[in-house]
Symmetry: C2
Subunit: 257 residues, 2 copies
């Protein structure tokens, strides 16, 4: 299953011992079980945090259902809440594991940069009221491309022993659209939408949010982009910037390679 | 005050007799009264429906507060809920009435056109799963420009005796942005974002939503754009298309002329 969701009203992807806590995984298990009459537990590709959104998370499960695999997503959408949608579905090899298969994974982080956050963007963008230099963010982000030890960009609560990951691309750009809708009758304050897009072979706990928080810090303080090389090499979480809020983060999708 | 809000959790702008019903006007009155210590009742420019969003609604009130008018909005934002923001504030003539002053008023209506609605767009876009021809919508919309009797595009529940309004501009265009974020790893289904933008000297009850619903109907059914001339001339609500859902509608702003 390719799964899209608005993470605002969920305590993250991973189901929790307390069944009263709403999770994406719990909602998927309930809906699929209801549809097939089996007791289903999905395996998710990415256990996104509370408040994080997704367009292309992946969930895999075993079933004896007679619903054709490539139509399963349509039936499932009749059982899922409106803030979770199955985008597509297909049959995979029985030994396929969505986390133990090599993949390229893309995240986007979105920021509203301006004095006053338009309320329709709440829960879907970080709000930063200090002016951000996008060129500095972009240059600093470029130094993260490649295979590195990302200990500095990883929550100290990680359970992963290996902190080496490969980043294929980091891009930072200004997005004109929302301001065409929302800003054309405002008093022309300096405001913009910024998007950070990161593709890698895997990400440590909070890694994209720490990358986003660090690049924003560079862009606000006009730091020399090369300083990020030193942050990487120190392998120390306290060397990097803050963890940016969950609501700006979108898991865009997986490409299995 | 220029006011922006996410209308999702409000029963419209206008305050209601039942004070437990959350309204934008009620929230503004409470916040301003709390800030000034006076008992304030604002006059709103547009009494938007439940679920409708705004970037530039206008609210006017009398106060003896010593907070400078051009800084009032900043103080007010400390008292307002996060889904309502004051964008700016200034002093007006004491006889200024935001509904009885000539103005150009702009609305935007946003549609997600594709099989499966990305959940992060819920509450902020209409979802239409039938393929829409934008050129037909644009051509049909063009015939609405000018001064006309808009009875066909007005709820039968209107209390306005005069149904003549002047439309300055109707534009329909495809917006690429959200799909750059959300769709690049999808299975390339035919999906797009459509924006209708309408500027007029005033709008009857549900008029923009009926215009949107009618243009969408033309775009789905490949109707001849000129048929909209007949719909206008019949002065009959049943001649036009359905009232499009509130969640896709944004009051962008006012220009007093």
């Amino acid at each position: 299953l390719q799964i899209a969701y608005d993470g605002t009203n969920y305590h993250g992807f991973a189901s929790q011992a307390d069944e009263d806590v709403e999770t994406i995984e719990g909602a998927l298990n309930n809906a699929i079980s209801s549809l097939t009459g089996e007791s289903i537990s999905v395996i998710g590709a990415s256990r996104t945090d509370a408040g994080v959104h997704a367009y292309g998370n992946i969930a895999v499960f075993d079933t004896a259902s007679t619903i054709p695999a490539d139509r399963f997503f349509m039936a499932l959408n009749t059982k899922l809440p409106a803030d979770i949608r199955a985008i597509t579905s297909y049959e995979v090899q029985s030994d396929f594991h969505p986390r133990h298969t090599n993949s390229k994974k893309t995240y986007v982080y979105r920021i509203f940069n301006g004095d006053i956050m338009p309320p329709v963007l709440n829960n879907h963008y970080e709000h930063c009221s200090f002016d951000i230099d996008i060129d500095i963010m972009k240059s600093a982000g470029g130094y993260l491309i490649g295979e590195h030890d990302f200990t500095s960009f990883c929550s100290v609560n990680t359970q992963s022993p290996d902190h080496v990951r490969k980043i294929y691309d980091v891009d930072v750009c200004e997005i004109p659209y929302e301001l065409n809708v929302l800003g054309d009758v405002s008093d022309k304050k300096n405001q913009k939408i910024i998007e950070i897009r990161v593709t890698g072979n895997g990400f440590l706990y909070n890694m994209v949010r720490i990358i986003a928080g660090t690049l924003i810090d560079f862009g606000i303080k006009n730091r020399n982009p090369e300083e990020i090389i030193d942050i990487l090499s120190r392998c120390d979480r306290s060397a990097a910037g803050p963890t940016a809020p969950a609501c700006g983060l979108y898991l865009i999708g997986y490409e299995y390679i």
